[in-house]
């Protein structure tokens, strides 16, 4: 973590506030706290904030505020950041996941690669809570905290052309959920029936940066039941507020 944040211009209408050069929850929480504070305070000219692992990108309107003025205002908020971090409310989202079989065709490989049984991989993957560091890459995709070393597995040599929506994968120490069908090279160990992204929702992504994700192993039968409820819009995902 840097002693104080770095402020960098990005093009002609954005400011990057960088808190460090590592994937680290302490750094990420500062980013998220600043994002919250700026979104709430709405300093003149600020249009949009994008939080990522270790930096916040702030779009502004140069008609309304100069870069230098904006930096001063954000530095003012930065002074109170530790307090803001301590006040942050975080949610925990339960992601029901059917592991193995057709849902997670790479589960046997992940087990074999790590000299574990499939059950052990499922247990290790689902017992940890993963912080959502950021949402990006494709709409609704959560960048999650790393998995335990025991189940880290390299990517496929040749990516699949079509990974089904909801697939849960591992790539090295990363784990993630594909929000929509797309090509991808992650090792697929399971699939959730939840919808992670829906453009008809006012807030289109199920997960938010700062949330924690807990995978909950479910059977094929439960998968189909939840899937049907999701399709009928009668399923409420379990998201616990702090």
């Amino acid at each position: 973590m840097y002693e104080s944040a770095r402020y960098l211009p990005v093009g002609d209408k954005a400011l990057l506030v960088e808190f460090g050069n590592a994937i680290d929850i302490t750094i990420n929480l500062k980013v998220l706290a600043l994002c919250d504070a700026v979104s709430r305070a709405k300093p003149l000219g600020v249009e949009e904030c994008i939080p990522t692992y270790r930096s916040l990108l702030i779009y502004y309107d140069p008609w309304k505020v100069k870069y230098e003025q904006l930096v001063l205002q954000i530095k003012g908020i930065e002074q109170r950041l530790d307090e803001l971090v301590s006040q942050m409310k975080r949610r925990t989202a339960v992601v029901p996941t059917a592991y193995g079989g057709g849902y997670g065709p790479d589960l046997p490989y992940v087990a074999e690669y790590n000299h574990l049984t499939e059950e052990e991989v499922i247990r290790i993957h689902s017992e940890k809570e993963y912080a959502v560091y950021m949402i990006g890459f494709i709409a609704g995709f959560p960048y999650l905290e790393q998995v335990a070393d025991e189940i880290a597995t390299p990517r496929l040599k040749t990516p699949r052309l079509n990974v089904p929506a909801g697939s849960v994968g591992i790539a090295e120490k990363q784990t993630g959920i594909y929000p929509m069908e797309s090509p991808g090279g992650w090792r697929l160990i399971g699939r959730t029936p939840l919808k992670l992204f829906d453009p008809s929702w006012p807030q289109p992504a199920l997960l938010r940066p700062g949330d924690r994700v807990k995978f909950k192993p479910i059977s094929e039968k439960e998968f189909e039941a939840i899937k049907n409820a999701v399709l009928r819009n009668t399923y409420s995902p379990v998201i616990k507020e702090e």
Partner: protein, 319 residues
């Protein structure tokens, strides 16, 4: 949809989508801005039919569609010169055009530029998704069911055409000219320090060529290799449209309006807003050079550009 049926798509063209000024405030959920690649020309098209600058238009890429007019209305075509025709006769661009039921609008050879904008009085009526009518094809939403136009689609306007016909045109000196060589201004950073001094020098002094891999997500360029100090990777952070990423092969990629919102390649520079609009008219084999300007110069140019946009409206209405 309860709009006024205006056009039937006979041929969709290569890649024709509905676009407006794009989505705001959703990049934090991974939703790109989208919207017209050449916002300047799109706004001009709207103003020429007395629309709001943010009304939805067609963005037409290289090979244009063929449209049958179902009801009398007024249109305007701006941006790339793709040889538009009305009933087989050359149709003027950058001015209001009245069309009647039964007319056929078509396009021919590419004369200059890459993307034409087609505005219709009242704006194109498709559902608003996440605050915008823009099509985001990779996400499968916006515009016509999240896809480019296809044969048989019927384009509707949000409002019935006004009984008053207007005859507006873009002042000659405001009409852009598209060449096959383009120099765009950039502000260096935010990760210019990932590159060697020689790498930055190569980037700023070389001519790059737009490759065939150039679409609404980004343009891959070909040319001299830009040297990194150690690794091209950074911890993934936000990618604004206009960012110039340089992955491990040392060849720059300009990220455009449909680009992924975050990524892990170092960004050597970011193209300024007015020049990003001009880049929307670059096509494969065009030459691109990058010219460094300071943040304060960039700000002045952006203010000047925004002044031009607001003047454009006054000038068009004054005739």
């Amino acid at each position: 949809m309860s709009g006024v049926r205006l056009f039937r798509v006979i041929k969709p063209g290569l890649f024709t989508t509905v676009q407006d000024l794009g989505r705001r405030g959703l990049q934090r959920y991974g939703v790109p801005v989208s919207g017209g690649m050449d916002a300047f020309s799109m706004i001009a098209a709207n103003l020429l039919v007395l629309n709001q600058s943010g009304d939805a238009c067609l963005e037409i890429t290289l090979l244009g569609p063929e449209l049958e007019v179902l009801n009398d209305t007024q249109i305007a075509i701006t941006g790339a010169d793709l040889s538009p025709t009305l009933n087989g006769q050359s149709a003027p661009m950058w001015r209001t055009l009245s069309v009647s039921k039964g007319d056929i609008i078509s396009f021919g050879e590419i004369q200059a530029g890459c993307r034409a904008y087609f505005a219709v009085a009242g704006g194109i009526n498709v559902p608003v998704v996440l605050g915008s009518r823009s099509t985001f094809v990779r996400g499968g939403f916006g515009g016509f069911e999240g896809r480019p136009l296809k044969t048989g689609d019927v384009i509707e306007a949000s409002e019935p055409p006004s009984p008053f016909k207007v005859e507006l045109s873009m002042p000659e000196e405001l009409i852009p000219h598209y060449e096959n060589k383009l120099t765009v201004n950039v502000v260096l950073g935010p990760q210019a320090d990932v590159f060697t001094d020689r790498g930055v020098e190569t980037f700023l002094s070389s001519t790059y060529t737009v490759t065939i891999e150039a679409d609404r997500m980004g343009y891959r360029l070909e040319g001299p290799v830009i040297e990194h100090k150690v690794s091209p990777s950074i911890i993934s952070d936000a990618i604004p449209p206009g960012a110039v990423q340089v992955p491990g092969d040392g060849l720059p990629i300009i990220m455009m309006v449909d680009a992924q919102t975050t990524g892990g390649y170092a960004k050597i520079a970011v193209v300024t807003t007015p020049d990003l609009s001009r880049l929307g008219q670059a096509k494969p084999n065009d030459a691109v050079r990058f010219s460094r300007i300071s943040l304060s110069q960039a700000r002045l140019r952006l203010l000047e550009y925004q002044r031009t946009l607001s003047l454009m409206e006054t000038r068009i209405l004054q005739g």
